[in-house]
Symmetry: C2
Subunit: 212 residues, 2 copies
């Protein structure tokens, strides 16, 4: 689909304070994504939804990818805050389980944001230090729990990172299986489906407790 090139705002554009328009674009982009899918987001649709001229969003975002990158940055920010808002425990193993459930809950409640962050190719504009910073922040929530478990010394660093990646990939896989369409095709019994999360969380815990 050809996209309009950035140009000066049209004179007839309805007056809207720039700060609001910037925010409004993000909200409208999320609506467009929810309605039409990530790949179909365009600044034209965002402008139409807001009732502003086609050129107006370009005042704040040089391209649809820049707007998408801002949506992604906020997704990571909200995701990290969501993980931080889990029930905390002094015992790191208990805290890790709480973090795991909180992670799965996000993927279940906000599948679109989850897919945007972790299951779609990032647009070029998302490869930006500001997006990276919030992505790292989300990973740090997990890294810190692993540090409480293994220690913060130099010699524990690799183990902390490898186990954080192990836990992340385990939860990412479970979230993907539960959100995906294939699970429903396998003819699984109700009991298996009911036990699925607990079973896998238990197995992941055993995996972590084993020798490296």
């Amino acid at each position: 689909m050809p996209r309009a090139k950035p140009s000066a705002p049209a004179a007839a554009e309805p007056a809207a304070p720039p700060a609001d328009l910037r925010e409004a674009c993000v909200a409208a982009a999320r609506e467009v994504i929810a309605e039409q899918g990530i790949e179909n987001l365009s600044l034209r649709d965002v402008a139409r939804k807001l009732g502003v001229s086609h050129q107006a969003p370009y005042k704040h975002y040089p391209s649809r990818d820049h707007l998408l990158a801002e949506v992604m940055r906020r997704c990571f920010e909200e995701f990290a805050a969501w993980l931080d808002a889990r029930k905390h425990f002094d015992d790191p193993a208990q805290d890790l389980a709480s973090l795991g459930h909180q992670y799965l809950h996000f993927a279940e409640q906000r599948p679109l944001e989850y897919r945007l962050m972790f299951s779609t190719p990032w647009p070029a504009a998302a490869h930006h230090p500001e997006v990276d910073r919030y992505a790292v922040h989300a990973f740090d929530v997990l890294r810190q729990v692993m540090q409480r478990m293994h220690g913060t010394g130099r010699e524990q660093r690799e183990r902390v990172e490898l186990d954080a990646l192990y836990i992340w990939s385990s939860m990412h896989g479970l979230a993907g299986v539960m959100n995906g369409d294939s699970l429903g095709k396998l003819g699984l019994g109700a009991k298996v489906r009911k036990q699925l999360v607990t079973h896998i969380m238990t197995r992941v815990g055993h995996g972590l407790a084993g020798p490296v």
Copy 2:
């Protein structure tokens, strides 16, 4: 994007044997998906790529979703064959590890097909017994290895299924993390990245060996 309604083929359409056109549509659809993304597949683009009339693909596929479903069915078929083609071992644990590596290898070599099967919402037409059958076939490769490990009796059935789901979700998560864009943002050392697969495969093995 509005789509053309199915209609009678235009008289001026270039002659193409129906059997070939059916096949050619699948090949062209895969190319369109590779070039433009899954969401942008249209029968119009498929027709253009094949140099046939816009109506021609409708002779074989009532909608772009039906063509996409046929592409998905073949992906599952090829995926199951790929898993079957792994190096086989008598020892089920060794065979499971071989299956895991073969799974990851598919996701690495054919990220688009992988994403189509497991990380995008299925179109309505893909919820079809023929697609299901091939999806189940792929899962059965794993289920059979778990049966060799745990047994085929009635009382082992749930454990077999739950552990098959555990292994699948572990490999799906690892494939997703490795194929995704976030991994590169976390400032991981070269040593951690190099050890990642082995570390996680080891942890997954420990998880499976633990008590239920």
